[in-house]
Symmetry: C2
Subunit: 526 residues, 2 copies
């Protein structure tokens, strides 16, 4: 590992009261290594894994991020590797007697003058891409729709050069599900709100089978489509203003008749989308969803703190930022309720956590089901440690809003959007919330992308950024090596966001990589 | 409707004790219509909907298939339209005191001499297609895998003309899930067993991210791959005999390095698959999954009885047949336990029904969540009536086996494979069970298809078969018009099965239409 050979041994502690720190050097460090502080390693410690800074008697709290991430299961001497098998995980914090809106940070000065080039929609929202979306009520229609999309891309898209892409909103919901179950509202409103994402310009078109449970009028009831302007409504076939191609319509004679109908309807929308042009808009029009996936111990040291700094910049610029992932913030609920701007926000946060606790309990698991083998290999001992490193993405601004899964964002500032941590499900729900830009940090590495919104990927380690040079957009590993500060990488990310929002392609867009939409459906299938 | 104009008014009763029948004529029949029996319609009755054959006093049982499908909510006069709003649905049959193996039909004579041209595998199973499958441990790798598959199809497939296709086994599972929850075994074994489907010839290759919860060794533990022969094992990189491309491997430098690795591994498998040739095998090597979707009142009158007749032919020929869809057989549990070959089979059936009852109850719904608006529009008043029409697909043979969701079939004869009724989930689970041919009946019409196994689609009505002439493979509507008997269509379907199993393309294959794999995951996501 030539890079570590040239660097002095380095550990990184997150807080002055911490009694463990993580080894920063590529490849880890061998037994006998002496740090600048005088601490000597008693054994090999892999990169990103924890070393004891002091003797930790059995039963004592092991502290990182100024929080007890576990309790020592045996005496641990200073300089030892503090791995997951030496730690007992703390019990989950109860949801009673939490501090409510007690930690109101002083407001930071507004950040004025930053702009990007976006697509202004009739309803005032702003898109960062110009995409024709084809909403589908049910998986049944996916084969025919995909066939039609291939034709649209080959035959029509070249004629409409101002349209970036065509995205079929394929999903596995719509029928064969318990659509009247109380929890079915989540996938239904998710699909509805995705169709209204600002990157689709209000040009809602729907492909329906006909006999499905999720009828078009149930998916998009009258009045739900505020984005559709008059031109669009006038052009539709349906009296309700909804543009639906129904495959079971008696008028269709054979497969090509269905395909032709989809292609024909698509062209009407493409014509209007093609008239859209980017215009200069303030940075406050950004709606950013932040997320992490494939986390390691550096996530909470490099990439996530840089994202957190950038989150503060965005809030100061008047933009909207969402952080998510219930199981990855559950252990920091007291920090979050303390940061809530109002008691109502804190209560909404507690409501979402309680709902998720119950949801996991029904499946006979708890929040600890979150961590992966890769997390542990990367140095994260348990969900408490992972959560502390995850929450820092939210920066330090007051939390002014809470969204239940699938709801649409209605206010600017910092919002907690409650979602599962699964990358695709979280991304899908943030899309539904109205996200027009996505930031994704990763330590182990994942080629994640979405079809509807650009995803800026931030590597937590320079080794990953070097190897995945054409998949990672930003290298935050330079924070660990001291080459850049958190503030520098945060500003770099902020400027990159404005560039990407203005049309600069991410690596995932360059390769046309994207993952499936994955709906969160806590209700049964039938 | 020219077709109905040329035909005498016709209703179809299923059993001599029934007091309702369905109107067969296209377009339905108007008030005043007089049937051959002398019955006169008191109002318009749509096609497929029920007419009262006698006066039905309020509270009396409304009988179809010789079963009470509901109780009259008011007095209903003979000749009236008996629609869903006039019926109270019966309570679900309890799972105690069921008849156990009491209705053993006399064995039917063996059916010898029928064969098809299939691909014999090293483990003795037989494929009907020759497909390279790429197993994926987690959705994270789908973007890169799809990119590689496009290259494989463009660059390699033309060099290997005996290989039919390349199928990426994309799914939304693998991480961000509660993988240690008791119910997580279902999606895991489903994915494992799909990889071993006979149409993939034992050439298992896996694309893994690296940090996911569903590690390759957990998905396919040593010993699970009985299909892999020695040539295949010798060619793999891994000591465990598992051929895995891991995207996070330190050796990968950039995106194309990952893509190249997948393409390179795929070619080794393509070379071996390309040596496979069809050979004549007995019809007993068929493993048929039967399913219905988009059902109407004709499903239980035309297509499903014809499939049931064909099921009996297949059992007589020594083949394997699975019927499925828990909520669509739940109301006929007493018929099924009576038909069980042994008490153990009956007990297994009850176990699966009880599990599903509890699963639905947790989501605060019951079996009645199954029916769709399209079912009701098609004349099916409730799940009891739908179930009676669905069960007839199973024919009359003794039920000799039961599979829990995701399990692999181990015996020939008639098996009840417990699955949800959702078309894609049922199809995915039947794939996992080892199905090499799929039969799908539909009344409302759906363009359903699967990438891995040919799907023969059977229309319940001739009107649908005419309009969807290039999507429906068999027209069973001729049974309703008296042009063909159930037996004739059953034999036609049997011969079609042998043809399709031998390589004749279905319409879905012609258009390359297929739906997504959809895993049944009753466990939580995290």
């Amino acid at each position: 590992m030539p890079h570590s050979a040239t660097r002095a041994p380095l550990y990184i502690a997150m807080h002055e009261r911490d009694n463990v720190a993580i080894v920063a050097n590529d490849g880890g460090l061998p037994a006998g290594t002496v740090f600048a502080s005088g601490l000597t390693l008693r054994e090999h410690v892999p990169q990103g894994h924890k070393v004891a800074l002091a003797d930790l008697p059995a039963g004592s709290a092991v502290r990182r991020y100024d929080v007890a991430i576990g309790y020592a299961l045996q005496d641990i001497l200073a300089g030892s590797w503090v791995h997951e098998r030496l730690l007992q995980m703390p019990a989950a914090r109860g949801l009673d007697h939490l501090p409510i809106a007690t930690a109101q940070p002083a407001p930071q000065p507004p950040l004025n003058g930053y702009t990007f080039e976006g697509y202004r929609n009739p309803d005032g929202s702003v898109g960062t891409r110009n995409i024709l979306a084809i909403t589908q009520t049910v998986q049944c229609v996916a084969g025919v729709t995909n066939f039609a999309v291939q034709r649209i891309k080959a035959e029509l898209l070249p004629k409409y050069p101002h349209v970036d892409d065509v995205a079929a909103l394929e999903h596995t919901y719509g029928c064969g599900v318990a659509i009247d179950a109380p929890d079915a509202i989540i996938p239904i409103r998710t699909l509805r709100n995705i169709s209204l994402n600002p990157n689709f310009g209000g040009e809602v078109m729907v492909v329906s089978l006909g006999c499905e449970k999720l009828q078009p009028e149930r998916l998009l009831p009258p009045g739900s489509i505020a984005l559709i302007d008059e031109r669009s409504a006038a052009a539709t076939d349906s009296a309700a203003g909804l543009d639906v191609v129904c495959l079971q319509d008696a008028a269709h004679m054979g497969f090509m008749s269905m395909v032709d109908a989809i292609v024909r309807q698509a062209e009407a929308h493409l014509q209007r989308l093609n008239t859209r042009r980017r215009e200069t808009v303030p940075a406050s029009e950004l709606v950013v969803g932040v997320q992490c996936g494939g986390s390691d111990a550096f996530s909470g040291v490099t990439a996530n703190p840089a994202v957190g700094f950038c989150t503060d910049l965005l809030v100061r610029a008047g933009a909207s930022v969402m952080f998510s992932e219930v199981t990855e913030v559950r252990d920091g609920i007291d920090q979050l309720t303390a940061r809530a701007a109002t008691p109502e926000v804190a209560e909404a946060m507690v409501r979402e956590m309680a709902w998720y606790d119950a949801y996991l309990h029904k499946g006979q698991v708890d929040r600890s089901a979150n961590t992966t083998p890769g997390n542990k290999k990367g140095g994260l001992s348990n969900i408490v440690e992972k959560a502390m490193g995850s929450i820092v993405k939210s920066g330090s601004a007051p939390i002014t809003g809470v969204l239940a899964p699938g709801e649409k964002l209605a206010r600017k500032g910092l919002t907690y959007a409650a979602t599962p941590a699964s990358d695709f499900i979280c991304g899908t729900l943030q899309l539904a919330a109205g996200m027009n830009l996505h930031v994704f940090t990763t330590g182990r590495g994942t080629p994640y992308g979405l079809a509807a919104v650009p995803v800026i990927k931030v590597a937590t380690r320079s080794d990953l950024a070097r190897r995945w040079h054409d998949l990672m957009d930003v290298d935050a590993g330079t924070i660990a090596t001291g080459q850049q500060t958190i503030e520098q990488v945060g500003w770099e990310l902020f400027h990159r966001m404005l560039d990407v929002a203005s049309g600069k392609k991410t690596w995932a867009e360059h390769w046309k990589l994207h993952n499936a939409l994955v709906l969160f459906n806590p209700a049964p299938v039938t």
